[in-house]
Subunit: 487 residues, 2 copies
């Protein structure tokens, strides 16, 4: 057996025991990981800062988000209703007799989680994918991101302490490092792997997805890959709020040097005096943004290349760029504009440029704006900036935007993804490989499970969630009705 074989076999053996632990035991483990991370906060944030160039306040906030996420999933499984228990009781009088059937969601097996470079805590080693998978009852193998390998190792140390203290199986979580094209590939191809979580580039996500589909037994890959998060600015709000909009969007475009999946990369509007004012103010705001170091060298090089390519396209006009030249490894905050006509003729302009860059599409008419929206591929988010009068006049645009993305936002910025039951951080291809799931929020747990129906089982053979006396006190659909009581 090679190393990956050993790791995946350990994960499979640990799964047999871990999956059977009570929800309370799994919740205790998740909470203990949060405690151990919190205990090592200062050191974790310091190392992550050195590895990722992300500022300390951001990293402190992200670490809090990460431990909150673990606690959220602990609470979710302690409450327990997420398993979608459904019970249909037998009816022996019926012809033919109706059997007793009971269904719930159960974990499938070991999950492989790829760390994301842009979130060294929240989407990496002990991030949302790992937390949701552990909550479901899966065991996890983390492929740490090479750009923050030490941070990843330290996070795993915290998890290891929690494993010992909680008494869950030793190999409930494992950590490996190495290249995506060798170690990553071997993990996705391994027979014991049952699912994959990934946040990163379109090329990286698609490579994993293809590997998973070429397996003898295909497995789901939940890859969050690419989004330019179009924002529509309607005329009345542009006329009335140009200055506020410019400040708000300059901040959103350059937040964390634009290194968010939800960065607003495309601003769409119909030409007007208000739009002119907004773009002029936005250009000035962007000019005042100081270049900062990006996450790592490859991302900075990719951004510089993408920016140059984008600015070289036909009809592109620079409308604002940092007055300070970027130093080594730094991004060059930039906003440009293009006519609706040129945008529609150039599919290249619909591709993501990951970093602090945004392109404003100046449309001739509302019809052209609708055409531009329709030409877009699937997105994580789409936003509408509008007054009440705008909303009344342009309901058709708002409705169209619902077909584009997993989240549609009114009068706010897309950056910032709340971790809660109602969040959808997902969307139609190529934003993700599977628009039916989210990678943020409690329903992220649904990625790692499948429904199983037990027919004619005796009560003491059933999982607790399906027993007559409802020992977990969860919501269940009993004979078609939502109930929390005994049967």
């Amino acid at each position: 057996m090679n190393d990956i074989d050993i790791v995946m076999q350990n994960a499979a053996n640990a799964f047999k025991k871990y999956a059977l632990l009570t929800p309370a035991a799994k919740a205790g483990f998740l909470n203990e990981i949060a405690v151990q991370i919190e205990n090592d906060r200062a050191s974790l944030v310091k190392v992550a800062n050195e590895e990722s160039n992300l500022p300390l306040p951001r990293l402190n906030g992200e670490l809090t988000r990460t431990t909150n996420q673990l606690k959220l999933f602990a609470n979710l499984i302690k409450e327990g209703s997420w398993v979608e228990a459904a019970i249909d009781l037998a009816d022996v009088q019926r012809t033919p007799p109706k059997p007793d059937t009971r269904k719930m969601l159960l974990p499938v097996g070991p999950v492989v989680v790829f760390g994301a470079s842009n979130f060294p805590f929240a989407f990496s080693t002990a991030g949302g994918d790992t937390a949701s998978a552990l909550a479901s009852g899966s065991t996890v193998v983390v492929k740490g991101h090479s750009a923050h390998a030490e941070t990843s190792g330290k996070m795993f140390d915290a998890i290891k302490k929690a494993i010992v203290i909680s008494g869950v199986p030793e190999y409930t979580v494992q950590h490996v490092l190495g290249s995506g094209s060798t170690v990553g590939k071997a993990l996705v191809q391994h027979a014991e792997t049952t699912g994959v979580g990934f946040t990163g580039s379109l090329s990286g996500g698609m490579a994993l997805w293809k590997l998973a589909n070429e397996r003898e037994r295909p497995i789901p890959v939940f890859a969050e890959m690419s989004s330019i998060n179009p924002v529509v600015f309607l005329p009345d709000t542009l006329e009335k709020n140009a200055e506020t909009l410019a400040k708000t969007y300059a901040a959103s475009i350059t937040l964390g040097m634009g290194q968010f999946c939800t960065n607003p990369g495309l601003l769409l509007a119909v030409k007007s005096k208000g739009l002119d004012d907004f773009l002029s103010l936005l250009g000035k705001e962007i000019a005042a943004v100081i270049p900062q170091k990006m996450l790592h060298k490859a991302i900075q090089e990719s951004f510089a290349r993408g920016l140059n390519e984008a600015l070289a396209q036909k009809g592109i006009q620079k409308i604002g760029q940092s007055v300070q030249q970027p130093g080594e490894g730094e991004a060059y905050p930039t906003v440009a504009s293009v006519s609706g006509k040129d945008f529609l003729q150039n599919p290249h302009l619909r591709e993501e440029v990951f970093g602090p860059y945004s392109l404003a599409i100046i449309c001739d008419s509302k019809a052209q704006l609708i055409e531009a929206l329709t030409a877009l591929k699937g997105q994580l988010t789409t936003t509408i900036m509008a007054t009440d009068d705008d909303i009344t006049a342009h309901g058709d645009i708002i409705h169209l935007q619902q077909t584009l993305a997993g989240r549609i936002i009114l009068n706010d910025v897309p950056t910032g993804v709340e971790v809660c039951a109602s969040m959808v951080h997902g969307g139609p291809f190529p934003a993700t490989t599977d628009a039916r799931y989210t990678s943020v929020g409690t329903t992220a747990i649904k990625r790692w499970v499948r429904p199983i129906c037990f027919q004619g089982f005796k009560d003491d053979m059933l999982p607790d969630a399906l027993k007559d006396n409802n020992p977990l006190n969860i919501w269940r659909i009993v004979n078609g009705e939502w109930k929390k009581n005994n049967i």
Copy 2:
């Protein structure tokens, strides 16, 4: 535009209107389809009998199942809680302020449904795929099965009447005929198609799945393809109930000439006097089964070929076969046995032979039985026949079986699939392309939707399911708690 272009464009245009109808209007349409089918029952059953060779009582039962299914989905959407509404209210006091986010499941677009030859009513033109897709708000293009083209056309006539009476858009459901490799392929590849439902062969399902994954924008294919539905017979029940078991299983193996996805194709047990008695009695029961015509020529030829191949494998012993030679187009009911050792050495014996054939695996030991179960691919069902003493002694086997299939059955036959909330007609690959979904029961609706999050929306802009005053009176998760009241 070619014909398929026109059909799919019609479906996409109809979707824009149909998806916006109230749940009550969609439910009315589903119920009206049921009424129209019922009105034409005698004629439908007659034509289906001529085309499929299935007997009249079976077809009458299947038609009732089909109309019940339509009514079940009508009730599901009238009740409304299936949309998984989740609401997290804003908290402006928090730093940073928490936005108002609200999520629900919404339909994606036109769905293509392939009729299944073995269920001319329940899994075809107005069957479960169509009913669940229409309930979700999707429009549907049915590719009727050539083996029952007239039945399919007549079913579509009933749907057309319901379209007119209910006043839903004309192209809410459309019907096409033609070969899978041309018409079917074009439907799956069309840019407006957003999902595919299929029940049939492994090769057919995999071909559609590959086409869907090769699209510029991949779409989900829910293909239910292949299952041999292993049944484990434990020693105590074999010793005590050999005669009953033989009668029960001879009936299940030959029900509908074995043309069910859930036909028990594999019988596993450890060698014993009880097993000898059971197999001897089973052989006698099978010998008494009269050959019947199969669904169509290609299926009969495929069964004859598969049976000959299976019986020619090393170590196979025939233990029972109909005493009556089959006539033209008829199946030859057969049961054979093989040692656990020969079974483990021959992967060919794990493949489905679609028809009235079952293979008994005679294992040397419990360890070998577990090895045989472990060697199996994913299944729709797996069954355990056991006394209470067996259950106490062999919990490990029962637990192992949960990893194999979508439904695990105790002391019953796998044939017979109840249409209800707790049913799972699905399972790990290659039983289906996606173990996370079922094609039978109310949750089949989840195949045609994706979650959308509305952030910061005003109440009157939200879908009814997410409005403050809960006008649909549905169950929702509000700030993490299940509630049915207003906000």
